[in-house]
Symmetry: C2
Subunit: 391 residues, 2 copies
Amino acid sequence: MTDTYPIRPEAAAAPTSGIVDTVNYGRTREGLIPLWVGEGDLATPAFIAEAATRALAAGETFYTYQRGIPELRAAIAKRQSALLGKDLSPERFFVTTGGMHAVQIAMRLVAGTGDEVIVPTPAWPNFRGALTASGAGIVEVAMTPSDTGFALDLARLEAAIGPRTKAIVINSPANPTGWTATREELAAILEIARARDLWIVSDEIYQRFVWEERVAVGGRAASFHDVMREGDRVLFVQTLSKNYAMTGWRVGWLEASPELGQTIENLVQYSSSGSPVFVQRAAIAALEHGEGFVAHQIARARRGREIVSQALAPLNAVRFAPPPGAFYAFFGVPGADSRALARRLVDEANVGLAPGSAFGSGGEDGMRLCFARKDEDLVAAMGRLVPVLRG
Amino acid sequence: MTDTYPIRPEAAAAPTSGIVDTVNYGRTREGLIPLWVGEGDLATPAFIAEAATRALAAGETFYTYQRGIPELRAAIAKRQSALLGKDLSPERFFVTTGGMHAVQIAMRLVAGTGDEVIVPTPAWPNFRGALTASGAGIVEVAMTPSDTGFALDLARLEAAIGPRTKAIVINSPANPTGWTATREELAAILEIARARDLWIVSDEIYQRFVWEERVAVGGRAASFHDVMREGDRVLFVQTLSKNYAMTGWRVGWLEASPELGQTIENLVQYSSSGSPVFVQRAAIAALEHGEGFVAHQIARARRGREIVSQALAPLNAVRFAPPPGAFYAFFGVPGADSRALARRLVDEANVGLAPGSAFGSGGEDGMRLCFARKDEDLVAAMGRLVPVLRG
């Protein structure tokens, strides 16, 4: 904000991403191995891109349904119904320009000026960003790091609820910590939300990336869908970015009760005015024919987790446990200033990691490493990182 | 809003589009000629779509710059500099997912809860939508219809300014009325804004569609760029939708002082998280090689304006003047309920028009007709409409 160009305080307060800060520092380093953003190294598979190309050639370049084209809503419902073992109506799904847009709409539905939303941290910084920009306050509940990874203390979560609290954001499996709730934990969180009349905004975008049986349900992470009933106030944000290597496409969805359909349609109208039909055609191809590719992505991330864990586990200077879910290693370097360390790792190891301070309280001495990448890169990166981390 | 799913009042108040209401009424009528939305009948030219296809084939499917790729920002700056006869830096341009996203960010910059924004009406309903969703109030200033078209009374505009006013939205050439400000009117509006410390949000997306010399500057409509100086608080929202038949692509831009760059980048991060690179490649192709197509579009709209004007002008039951700009005819049917009339025109003429009531005060008895369409359709539509309108 300047005197010349006075702007709204919420807009001015929207924080600059602490990840982008490091990326800008190291963007042009030759040979740098970039493990700093939540994105793999594979381009979108050809069968998905070609569906968009065909739609473009067929002239599907006009305005369309704000809620998404019916064929995509049906494809999402079919895929999620199969994954979650439930019969979910297409009327529950609203296509968005990426998971972030779904988060923006979810936050606008549940919180605004004067309200508070609880977010367990370390957390994806865009939750804070979306809340700040909408005028709502964020209440961080720091998770507890331990030898077995991060844990969410439900008593602390409940104690953070105040008279202005409107919602709890739950991201399981979590970016950046890999924390993954058990079915029982989700049930307990939902009970708290019910008792206190709160919304849950559930980000389950990493649900296919789960590494430990104790948090898995039928090969995927436990979901609020496993424990909720009709009338529960749960909004799900989702994306095709991670499963299908479609980060740059900006396509995802918000899942909500159909009762909110007209309001969500209006909020889409007044933000993106809908998603391109040709992008939606690509999304349909991904959902209908992408299971083989998802399996390939999961297998790669599983190997990546092994490579990274075997390199980090022996280090005395590092606090680390292999994550139960998602595709990040979040390790602590006690006493470190993570932003300075991220720059040092760029300088001395030529590897890009995201500084833990970008993820809120509990992350100050941490570093996030994305292991959704080919083996050779990860082996090389760990070979360069370990000597620097060992000190 | 329901008891089961309580949501924020701003979200619940975001209005349902009055255009969509009519579209839903008539969507499935066989043989209906749709002149109700602001969209032509041409698909995106192949040379534009093929640029996206090439980018997809090259694997440009990853996250990218929140402000837009540098090549697109440079192409926008070059095109707008040539059009406006000014040297505009690429640093002024921020790529958005369509003009609507640019409007959303502009509104979040200048107004929120407790603020008011002035909008001359009849106006594109999405201004109201974006303001309502962001918690700001809208103050409508009804324009004056006359035999020579709509006029904006600057004394009434100034009288509408109150202590909570933060901005004035100016859309010239205007959707739906075709009202187009002269250079002198823009200078006078800017003086008012300067004197009262207000922002101007300028929507000049129809600037290439101008039909009268008195409002033209070098073959385009007058622009705030013709009268502003460094430090003036003007935000421009723009889109590639209309010039290049790219409505379904969702690509446009916000133009602002580079001093606001980091804030705009953050607001993009927390809404769309950027636009697909392959869409941006198509936008570059449009800007660099699209002048022939734009000329073709303008020539078509000019003929469309003639066809529609010749049919409407003789009707005593209709208040109408050929519009000086944009590609809509907005005519009044004194005494009519425009929503009921729109449905009647679907039923009796099988032509889809947008009801004037969707555009705010001053539009209650009006109808909007989009003439960016091939001659045959317009001739047929007018042949069916005139008997019904004549009564």
